[in-house]
């Protein structure tokens, strides 16, 4: 009986030990399992958050960048349109009829734009050059070129541009835009040109 007992005891002990061992080990396992489970969830959440944050940050940055680029683009566009307006101002001539210093309908529209630009660029001072085609005398054309430049000035002043900002000069037939004779060359040479002197 004693043997049984002791055997039983040993077995029990072993069992118990085993059990306790197993239990404890199992318990430990479980515990650990739970902790692990818990932390990986946290991690996941954290990571998710981080991801989210990152994304948000990226988005923000992207948006900022986009904004910056937009602004840059805008600035560029503004600069470009400014340059374009400037170019347009100095590159676009107005043209006259034969022996005439009258401002044509077409020229009026151009001068209105030019006047607008001059109002927006208040520091700018310009010279209006009067030119003629090769027909007629050197002397008469010097006078005619002066009439052309002056009639342009008068028109710009009437549109509100301060007269002190506009100088005029006649080059007569001395500086043709296009060489050669014939209606085409002549009509391109009967012109007023616009030169920006200062304020840009």
């Amino acid at each position: 009986m004693k043997r049984y007992f002791s055997r039983f005891f040993i077995i029990a002990l072993i069992c118990a030990l085993g059990l306790s061992f197993g239990c404890s080990s199992k318990k430990a396992d479980v515990n650990e399992g739970i902790t692990q489970e818990q932390s990986s969830e946290e991690d996941r959440l954290n990571a998710e958050q981080a991801e989210k944050d990152k994304k948000a940050e990226e988005e923000r940055l992207q948006a900022e960048e986009l904004e910056r680029q937009k602004k840059l683009e805008q600035q560029k566009k503004e600069e470009q349109s400014k340059q374009e307006a400037l170019r347009k101002f100095s590159d676009v001539n107005i043209y006259f009829g034969f022996d005439s210093s009258e401002i044509s309908e077409e020229a009026r529209a151009i001068l209105e734009e030019k006047a607008q630009w001059l109002m927006e660029n208040k520091n700018v001072k310009i010279t209006v050059e009067g030119h003629c085609d090769e027909r007629g005398t050197t002397q008469y054309n010097l006078a005619l070129g002066e009439r052309r430049a002056e009639s342009v000035k008068t028109y710009l002043v009437a549109l509100g541009v301060d007269s002190s900002r506009i100088l005029t000069i006649s080059y007569g037939e001395e500086r043709p835009a296009v060489n050669g004779s014939g209606d085409d060359a002549w009509s391109k040479n009967r012109r007023a040109e616009f030169v920006i002197e200062s304020g840009i």
């Binding site: 007629g136 005398t137 050197t138 002397q139 006078a143």
Partner: protein
């Protein structure tokens, strides 16, 4: 419309007939044929000059001087000079067989005897002009000078002939100022009456235009962009003070007054280009012409009492005459709608000008100051512009644009003998102004 057409027709008819006298109908009429340079010219014989002492140098001078005198007289377009196959044995009239010269078709005869002193290098020239028909001496002169000045002596003698026969002198000593872009910039140049001896007057590398000689030829006034705007520069040719006249905007087309140290000039100080009389230092002495539109290109009558000018007051550029004593302005040109560049002849009898028409382009005309006797002098040989009279009134220098090239040309006061002047110059030559 009908009226206008008729007017134009009459104008063209009267003006052009002399130049288109090709049909038989017109052949017998006394029109000037520009293709025949010898028509109505005086036949003058210049036989070989006679050496008063023979040496090598003298025969060389004799040949060149004989040629040069023939060149001078032919240049005037009054003479048909020829050295002829006939010779003279002596220079004095009593030894000349006028009948044989007359038979050979000569109306005048020049004889010359030359003596060259080898030791001093001096040349003596004895020159005589005979009227063959009258068998009489017309001009006799003796000149002494350095041998290399033989051209000067011959010019003087040629001037004596012109003075005696036509009351004209000063051609051979005169100069012509003009504008050339030879250097790439328009500069003022001058040359002798015949286009020889071209010299640069300005070297500003800018735009210089519209030269005008003072009455004594000691100043040249012109318009210059040297200071970036058109201003009037007055340059002394004798080393005296120079002047610059500058009013705001525009100071152009100076023209000296006859016999006075003052000029007409165009300023735009009162709205549009008007003509003022100024002193060389820029003081305005008088407002000569002021009106609506452009007033430009003043040119005085020889006595200074009248001034022709161009004005657009009537809607298109036309020539008007301001009478200073009556204080009136009369329109001179009515034909065509673009008439400019008036140039009063030294005798005052004609005004040369430039007319532009759709039919014939740009040509030179003459008109009497009373508006009569319009005559077209150039015809369809390019754009003909900027006439200026020789001081003796016999010739007109002008610019002609043929293709892209502008050059100086010469013709008689009636449009004959059209020929180029300053032949071998590259670039474009324009705005000739003959000295006084």
């Amino acid at each position: 419309m009908k009226f206008k057409l008729i007017l134009v027709y009459i104008f063209i008819f009267t003006v052009n007939m002399p130049f288109y006298s090709f049909s038989d109908e017109y052949k017998n009429l006394q029109f000037i044929d520009v293709n025949n340079p010898f028509i109505n010219k005086i036949p003058i014989a210049i036989p070989e000059f006679i050496p008063l002492e023979k040496n090598e140098k003298i025969s060389e001078i004799i040949e060149t001087s004989n040629d040069y005198l023939g060149y001078l007289l032919s240049f005037t377009s009054y003479f048909r000079a020829s050295d002829s196959s006939l010779n003279v044995d002596d220079i004095v009239g009593t030894k000349i067989d006028f009948q044989s010269w007359k038979k050979n078709g000569f109306e005048f005869l020049i004889t010359a005897g030359l003596f060259y002193d080898k030791d001093t290098g001096f040349l003596e020239m004895e020159l005589r002009l005979f009227d063959v028909l009258k068998a009489d001496l017309a001009v006799g002169k003796r000149y002494t000078g350095k041998a290399e000045d033989f051209k000067k002596m011959l010019k003087r003698f040629a001037s004596e002939i012109m003075e005696k026969m036509f009351g004209n002198s000063g051609l051979f000593e005169s100069k012509i100022a003009f504008v050339s872009d030879l250097s790439g910039h328009k500069e003022i140049y001058s040359c002798d009456f015949d286009g020889a001896n071209v010299q640069k007057v300005t070297d500003d590398k800018t735009i210089n235009v519209s030269p005008s000689w003072s009455y004594d030829n000691s100043y040249l006034a012109y318009t210059s962009y040297k200071r970036n705007v058109p201003e009037i520069f007055i340059k002394s040719l004798t080393g005296k003070k120079n002047y610059i006249v500058s009013k705001k905007r525009l100071s152009i087309t100076p023209k000296w007054m006859p016999g006075k140290f003052s000029l007409a000039a165009v300023f735009s100080i009162d709205g549009d280009p008007d003509i003022y009389i100024i002193s060389p230092n820029g003081e305005i002495l008088q407002t000569a012409v002021k009106g609506y539109g452009i007033d430009v290109s003043p040119d005085f009558s020889p006595n200074g009492k009248k001034m022709a000018f161009v004005s657009s007051r009537g809607g298109s550029p036309q020539i008007y005459i301001k009478d200073f004593s009556e204080n009136t302005i009369k329109r001179l040109t009515f034909e065509g709608n673009y008439n400019t560049s008036p140039s009063w002849s030294p005798k005052g009898d004609y005004i040369a000008y430039v007319g532009m028409t759709k039919e014939y382009g740009i040509n030179i005309y003459t008109i009497k100051p009373d508006g009569s006797h319009i005559r077209m002098l150039t015809f369809s040989s390019g754009d003909n512009e900027e006439p200026s009279w020789s001081p003796d009134g016999s010739l007109i220098v002008f610019s002609r644009k043929n293709g892209r090239k502008k050059s100086l040309h010469l013709m008689t006061r009636s449009g004959e003998d059209q020929r180029q002047l300053v032949v071998n110059m590259a670039g474009n030559q324009s705005e000739p102004a003959w000295s006084h």
